[in-house]
């Protein structure tokens, strides 16, 4: 008889040929974006993982040093495509911090609304991807269609579906168009109705419960120590949210409810996303209600000739996947001296892959990735 499974890693040490390699990505249907793990396996169990990042490395940090301050706004959303707005906001906030300016309140609220809308699109995509990783394609299709409703609103507002390039140092490009808010309310109503369907399809599905329960457990201490942020952190029981702890945009004026759960496994993370989805809708409603009138941008002169005074700042934004941070250093010139980007996916995508994937089955890799909402472009930059 084969030895029992818990000695598989010992078998791997003793018998080199019992191990084989499986390439999970970059061009793999279970992988979102170009990213890869080289899995050393025995049977269907993973013994060792070698992450294979860098397929999406475009050298953003270098490119930003080459471009004007405002030109970079076109560049930053491309770092994380599913959730682009936090990038713009974080970058602009960092500039505003260095310049020491405070943007108008209405701009803050519009930023908040776009941020939360972006979060909705990202969550819709994440929930769909989770279903797809488990072979449940129907919610993915429906969610994508619903996501398009929000993208249409974005297009109305900014002229682009994905890369909005809407935030600028000193505010946002333009005010909300007429009729936009009503449409947004309709979409939110529609989403709330759809949420019941999602629940039935995904979150109350017994098979999904069976598959995700206990998968990839992360304890609260471990999550904090290893730099996990966002819904993943809150699903482990830590009530930390950048929107509350280090408020930016209009969040100081809004009551952000921080939802925490104690499970720490993939199922809890999935449910966490769903709960926060509901909360986000409420937040948008509140922001729409409390939005003041006024200007939407400061006059900072000719933006293409914008000079940011010498200094440095770190600005972070709670994106749908966690803390998105921009560390901007300025030498007082026309271009940034250095921009460092902190993507939220790195600890989960690289460290947790090495730590948690071993002893997991090949069946679970895609679901595990989807539950942690790993976004390869922000690892690679």
């Amino acid at each position: 008889m084969d030895a029992p499974s818990y000695t598989l890693s010992k078998i791997a040490e003793r018998d080199n040929l019992a191990v084989y390699e499986l390439f999970f990505g970059p061009n793999h249907p279970g992988m979102h974006g170009n990213f890869g793990y080289v899995l050393e396996m025995i049977g269907t169990e993973i013994v060792k993982v070698r992450p294979n990042a860098g397929h999406l490395h475009r050298g953003f940090e270098k490119l930003m040093e080459q471009k004007l301050w405002v030109q970079n706004i076109a560049l930053v959303p491309r770092i994380c495509v599913v959730d682009p707005d936090p990038n713009e906001v974080a970058y602009c906030t960092a500039i505003e911090k260095i310049m020491g300016v405070d943007i108008p309140d209405r701009a803050k609220f519009i930023r908040t609304i776009t941020l939360e809308m972006s979060r909705l699109t990202s969550f819709l995509m994440g929930m769909g991807a989770l279903g797809a990783a488990l072979g449940l394609y129907t919610p993915m299709y429906i969610m994508m269609a619903d996501r398009d409703l929000i993208l249409d609103l974005f297009e109305w507002l900014t002229g682009a579906r994905i890369y909005h390039i809407f935030n600028i140092p000193g505010g946002v490009r333009n005010d909300l168009p007429e009729g936009w808010v009503e449409r947004l309310n309709e979409v939110l109503d529609h989403l709330e109705k759809r949420l019941i369907e999602y629940d039935k399809l995904v979150f109350e599905n017994p098979i999904i419960h069976k598959r995700l329960k206990g998968l990839g457990y992360i304890s609260k201490e471990e999550a904090i120590r290893t730099g996990i942020t966002g819904p993943n952190l809150r699903a482990s029981g830590a009530a930390y949210d950048v929107r509350v702890d280090d408020p930016y945009a209009a969040y100081p004026y809004l009551d952000v409810k921080v939802i925490t759960q104690d499970g720490g496994d993939a199922l809890t993370r999935a449910v966490q996303v769903r709960l926060e989805f509901e909360e986000t809708i409420k937040l948008i409603r509140q922001a729409l209600k409390e939005m003041p009138d006024g200007d939407v941008r400061l006059n900072l002169g000719n933006l293409s000739m914008l000079k940011v005074p010498k200094g440095e700042a770190y600005a972070k934004v709670e994106s749908s996947k966690g803390e998105f941070g921009y560390y901007v250093v300025s030498d007082g010139g026309l271009k940034p001296y250095r921009v460092g980007v902190r993507g939220p996916s790195l600890p989960a995508g690289l460290l947790y892959a090495q730590k948690h994937l071993p002893k997991m089955k090949i069946d679970d890799v895609a679901a595990w990735m989807a539950s942690l909402a790993i976004c390869p472009p922000d690892i690679d930059k």
């Binding site: 008889m1 499974s5 080199n16 191990v19 084989y20 999970f24 890869g36 049977g43 169990e45």
Partner: protein, 624 residues
């Protein structure tokens, strides 16, 4: 009649004399075999042949008459086992070409005792031949391999235990019935059961245990994997295909008639207690053998467990106690003989060329050994019981019999085992012959003709018996008819089940299969042409495996093939821990056997054994 036994015996002695001259010995061997086969063929249907030696001794109130006779079922077993043994020994010529030892003597001795067992007229002769076979196989297993000694000792100890039980049973039976004749004592036993049920069942169980041990049926399923894993491949081919049936033969001629007609307590108005006992033993063997085979990493152990499962089928067929089930079981005996021989020959060929029997270290051998692959493929299709190869017909008959008797649990066990058979059989196929060819086997060649020819003949036989089962069924049914069963002589291609409208024509199945393949092949040729790419040109998610240090060896999924499935059974196997229990018994047996072996080395063993036997005989007599 006696010349059939005398010729092999004398040839053995002559061969021992010429042991240094391989060419001469093998020529003699073939000649003797030719005679045996011819003789066997010619005595078909002449059931009154016999040869007797009246010793004038009277032991335990029974007259001791040693003798051999041509009985129909014995002939059926003897003919096919002799045929298969000949093919295996032919293979063995090539297999042992480079070794110094000359195996022809052992093969001749085996053929002799083989015939002796199947033609024995009385229990004493049967016992003698039985023991001769046991000891011969002990030497054959240990031949040249030190590692094999452990398994061989285990086997020896177990069969000694069985032999002791049989000796007791024979003596008690002789005392009560006053005869040593097998057929006569069967009727005697029936009367014992009817008068004193407990005693009768006791005797029957003693016999049954012996036969179970020989045929590796639960709870004695451990020895094949121990013996096969290290034994010489050519000899274990014989063991797994022919020798494992030695327990089946006495069951067929002795146990089944007695149980079938004995007046025992009934269960569920479909069968009696013993019938169900046999059935459950068979069902457990079938299921356990299947599950354990699925988990093996060593190909020889895998097929050892597969044999256990197949013995289980045969027992299940017996347990139905219908004529269809009985026919099916006996048919399966021959089918299993053929297909197991074919499979083990290919394994022997693989080991011969690569020296490796761990499946995950092999792979991709189809590139180098296509004929071996084809033999193996047909072998596993047959073993899985897929038409149009053999193995299907017999399984089908057994299932039919079980269903007609409403033995639901046994039928399900049968289906479980034969579906599970796909799993382990395919695993062996995929791991050994398919997949990536490791670099170190780049220079492996196909086996030489002496080994290839027997394999090819095996293929032909498998297909022949699959499409024209009458080749086996005709002699079988006429033999059964001769014994007195109420059967029709089978036709060449049809098989008859026991349910309504259940006649299948394997010829039509074969035609259908051919038709399907022709349509499918037309489709294939209708498509655009294909391009052959090297083995390492695989989908790897776009990665270059060589850049990650992955060679063909590390790109083969074959170790822990059914890991998820296995994990389902792990708690079960651990809690029941059948293996552990029997392993401990095994250790005790090994201890016993090494003691025995120690005695044997000093030359006292034979004496001791003989005295133990006599002692047991006397004791048995005294007690009763």
């Amino acid at each position: 009649m006696i010349e059939l036994l005398l010729v092999p015996l004398i040839t053995t002695l002559v061969l021992a004399f010429f042991i240094r001259y391989k060419r001469i010995t093998w020529t003699l061997f073939l000649a003797a075999n030719g005679f045996v086969l011819y003789k066997l063929y010619s005595i078909y249907g002449i059931w009154n042949l016999s040869y007797k030696v009246d010793t004038a001794y009277k032991i335990l109130g029974a007259e001791l008459t040693l003798g051999v006779s041509n009985n129909p079922i014995g002939w059926y077993f003897a003919f096919f086992s002799a045929l298969i043994t000949l093919l295996i020994s032919l293979f063995s010529i090539g297999f042992n070409k480079n070794s110094r030892s000359n195996v022809s003597v052992i093969w001749m001795l085996i053929i002799f005792s083989n015939l002796g067992i199947f033609f024995a007229q009385d229990w004493v002769t049967f016992f003698m031949m039985w023991e001769l076979m046991g000891w011969t196989s002990f030497f054959a297993i240990t031949n040249g391999k030190d590692k094999a000694l452990d398994g061989a000792k285990y086997y020896l100890a177990l069969s000694l235990f069985g032999a002791a039980l049989m000796l007791i049973a024979i003596s008690v039976l002789a005392q009560y019935t006053g005869t040593f004749q097998i057929f006569a004592s069967a009727y005697g036993l029936l009367q014992i059961i009817n008068s004193s049920t407990k005693l009768g069942i006791g005797i029957l169980l003693l016999f049954l245990t012996t036969f179970l041990i020989k045929s590796a049926i639960f709870p004695f399923y451990m020895w094949p994997q121990k013996v096969y894993s290290e034994g010489p491949e050519d000899y274990i081919t014989f063991m797994s295909s022919v020798m494992i049936k030695y327990g089946i033969y006495p069951m067929a001629i002795f146990i089944v008639p007695v149980v079938g007609s004995a007046d025992l307590p009934m269960i569920l108005n479909t069968g009696n207690v013993l019938q169900y006992t046999i059935g459950y033993l068979g069902a457990i063997s079938a299921i356990l053998g299947t599950i354990l085979a699925i988990f093996q990493t060593d190909m020889k152990k895998l097929f050892a467990y597969s044999s256990v499962a197949n013995m289980g089928y045969i027992l299940l067929g017996f347990s139905s106690m219908t004529i269809v089930g009985f026919e099916g079981s006996l048919f399966h005996v021959v089918n299993h003989m053929i297909l197991k021989a074919a499979i083990f020959l290919t394994l022997a060929a693989v080991v011969f060329r690569t020296g490796e029997s761990e499946m995950h270290k092999l792979g991709g051998l189809v590139y180098r050994m296509p004929l071996t692959f084809m033999t193996f493929l047909l072998g596993i299709i047959a073993a899985a019981g897929i038409p149009p190869l053999n193995g299907f017909g017999s399984k089908w008959m057994i299932i039919q019999a079980l269903m007609s008797k409403r033995m639901v649990v046994f039928a399900i066990a049968m289906i479980f085992a034969s579906t599970g058979a796909f799993m382990y059989l395919f695993r062996a196929l995929a791991s050994i012959f398919l997949g990536q060819l490791p670099d170190r086997y780049k220079d492996v060649k196909e086996v030489p003709p002496t080994m290839a020819i027997p394999m090819f003949i095996m293929m032909v036989i498998m297909l022949l018996t699959g499409v024209v089962p009458g080749v086996v069924m005709k002699p079988l049914t006429s033999a059964l008819k001769a014994v007195g069963y109420n059967v029709e002589v089978a036709s060449w291609t049809t098989l008859e089940g026991s349910l309504k409208n259940s006649v299948i024509d394997l010829k039509i199945v074969f035609y259908m299969f051919v038709a399907g393949v022709i349509i499918s092949a037309l489709m294939y040729f209708f498509g655009n042409k294909s391009e052959k790419v090297p083995q390492n040109d695989n989908y790897t998610a776009g990665e270059y495996p060589e850049e990650w240090g992955v060679d063909a060896d590390r790109f083969n999924y074959s170790y822990a093939f059914y890991q998820p499935f296995k994990e389902m059974f792990e708690p079960l196997l651990e809690s029941v821990s059948i293996d552990g229990f029997f392993a401990s018994i095994g250790r005790n047996f090994e201890f016993l056997s090494s003691t025995i072996q120690g005695l044997f080395k000093r030359g006292e063993g034979a004496v001791l054994l003989f005295s133990i036997g006599v002692l047991l005989l006397i004791l048995g007599g005294l007690i009763i």
